[in-house]
């Protein structure tokens, strides 16, 4: 049925099931209702990806006509030290912020899941920072991380510790951004909390009868039951963090010494500051391939640690 061509109702092709008039009418409505998305998909997603691939083989400043240069952009990329630096920075940031973020948000969710008094108040407090994002928050954190007048270094000064220049010393700049990302851990915390609350209590009761202590219950019930949610958050979180750059753009603009030049920022600069659309598209395509590879790897590794209910193999 999936291959059936739209043919007149009166002469259905042999061997293919006939679609009733009602079904045909419904199908037409279906396509009509999803039409906005189909147009958007062809224009802004599929069309854009294909166009991007084509542009990556050109030299194009967006002001003059594009010139075909073959694979020149890709060979330039292989020799480009900044490309490796930016990719490394993004992976560093992605691994750091998603890894630590998962641990922090999961811990927060576990804490809140213990029937604590004032749970909704605590949830609000942890969730709020993840809702306010963007430039206002970036400016706030420039202030918090300020070497001399910042909140963190004043706190450290109480204990006689002289804090580093968080955003101005190359070795501290990226850890600072990762630390800052933890402030928004509340977003995934809410997802984990919803997941924790849907773990059936009878599983915990069964584990208790078998003599499991708190840690054993955590590792044998909570983690397996939550693993699909964790996997989802890892994938989406990693994709989001590897391409995000607005915060970095505002806070360090890639500095000091390219220590925070993340991949998205490099693409932005190449395309919209230097107007090298061809090279920027090549960079973007490499990012797409890397993201697909990482996602595939995550799914493959997931077979060994993610548990799906109703999965016979487990």
């Amino acid at each position: 049925m999936t291959n059936a061509q739209p043919t007149p109702i009166t002469t259905p092709p042999k061997g293919k099931p006939k679609i009733g008039g009602m079904a045909r009418k419904e199908e037409r409505s279906f396509y009509l209702f999803i039409l906005p998305w189909i147009i958007g998909f062809l224009l802004f997603d599929a069309g854009a990806i294909i166009a991007s691939f084509g542009i990556s083989f050109t030299n194009w400043s967006a002001l003059s006509a594009p010139a075909y240069v073959g694979t020149l952009n890709y060979s330039r990329l292989i020799a480009d030290q900044v490309f490796y630096k930016a990719m490394g920075n993004s992976l560093y940031y992605g691994l750091g912020s998603v890894g630590l973020g998962t641990i922090v948000s999961f811990l927060l969710a576990l804490l809140l899941n213990q029937n604590v008094w004032g749970m909704s108040l605590f949830r609000t407090i942890f969730y709020l920072p993840s809702v306010v994002s963007g430039i206002a928050v970036a400016i706030l954190w420039i202030m918090i991380l300020h070497q001399d007048f910042g909140l963190i270094n004043s706190f450290l000064a109480w204990f006689g510790i002289k804090g580093p220049g968080w955003l101005v010393q190359p070795q501290w700049a990226m850890p600072s951004l990762i630390l800052m990302s933890l402030w928004s851990a509340g977003g995934s915390m809410v997802i984990y909390l919803a997941g924790l609350q849907s773990v059936p209590t009878h599983l915990y009761e069964a584990a208790e009868i078998d003599g499991a202590d708190t840690f054993q219950k955590f590792w044998t019930v909570t983690v397996p039951m939550m693993s699909p949610v964790i996997l989802y958050n890892l994938i989406v979180g990693f994709i989001a963090s590897i391409q995000g750059f607005v915060t970095v753009y505002v806070m360090t603009n890639g500095g000091p010494a390219n220590a925070t030049l993340v991949y998205g920022l490099y693409i932005y600069r190449t395309a919209f500051i230097n107007f090298q659309m061809g090279y920027a598209s090549a960079l973007a395509w490499v990012l797409l391939v890397v993201i697909i590879l990482i996602t595939v790897v995550q799914f493959i590794v997931a077979r060994y640690w993610v548990y799906y209910e109703g999965d016979l193999k487990s």
Binding site: M1, T2, R28, S29, F30, F33, I34, P36, W37, G40, F41, L43, F44, D45, A48, I49, A51, A62, L111, Q114, F122, F126, L128, P129, S130, V131, V132, S133, G134, I135, A136, I139, L140, W141, M143, I144, F149, L151, S154, G187, V190, I191, A194, V229, Y232, V236, I239, A240, I242, V246, V250, G264, Y268, F272, M277, L283, W285, L287, I292, T295
Partner: protein, 290 residues
Amino acid sequence: MQTPMVYPKRQLGIRGRAIATKVITYVLLLGLSISFILPFLWMVSTSLKLSQDVFTYPPSFFPNSFEWTNYPKGWRVLPFNTFLINSLIVTLSNVAGNVLSCSLVAFGFARLHGRGRNFLFLLLLATLMIPREVTIIPRFLMFSAAGLTNTLWPLVLPAWFGYAFFIFLLRQFFMGIPIDLDHSARIDGANNWQILTQIILPLSQPALASVAIFAFIGNWSNLLDPLIYLRSTELYTLALGLNLFRGQNFTQFNLLMAVSIITLIPVLLMFFFSQKLFVQGVSLTGMGGR
């Protein structure tokens, strides 16, 4: 000699251990809460300080005097009223466009049958994985070719063609509405449009509100698109205006903080009045808002 050490621990018993767990939990919760709130308090405190008090060593947490005039003063440094209007135009049309287009598409996927429906839905979800950097350059060139750069159109138009996350959220919600309602309406002669507008949408107010809120917040704080498309200052949105302000007056942190706080107010209000909807949206899809 080791056994006596173990006894007191055992004597703590189940109840004692439960109390100990509670105490540790609350200590952790309180400590973490304070560290999550402090940045906000610091922001407010800085916004009320005199310029010279911002850079004192050691910094004081509390302002010496409450300079409420920092707020109007900061607001007047740049044409923030214009930026506010631009932000409202962009954000509200994005909310309207997303709610309308995503409702239509979600209804199609939730209620109507057609060949390739499952495949198209998978394709829709797959678009969530596409990095923005890949599409942003062709999009820019497209809007550029259409002569629409340095207008608000590139920030407004895409919302009218649906957004995968919102479509997914609404579709999940629509699927939870009993299909019998559709059937009885159909028997009464209602068409798809009437079923959507008179039965499904009125029953889906929480989900629609979630979409509206996520769309509002996402666009309100969006810096990337304004940064790429807007050149003239009179078209700047609040986020872009704040970026300009930061570039020009990077030492006046008190004014910068004051304006930052003003730009956050709509988001904060929305959050406090509709926190339930946020959480519902999250648990319905298992995804965050971005």
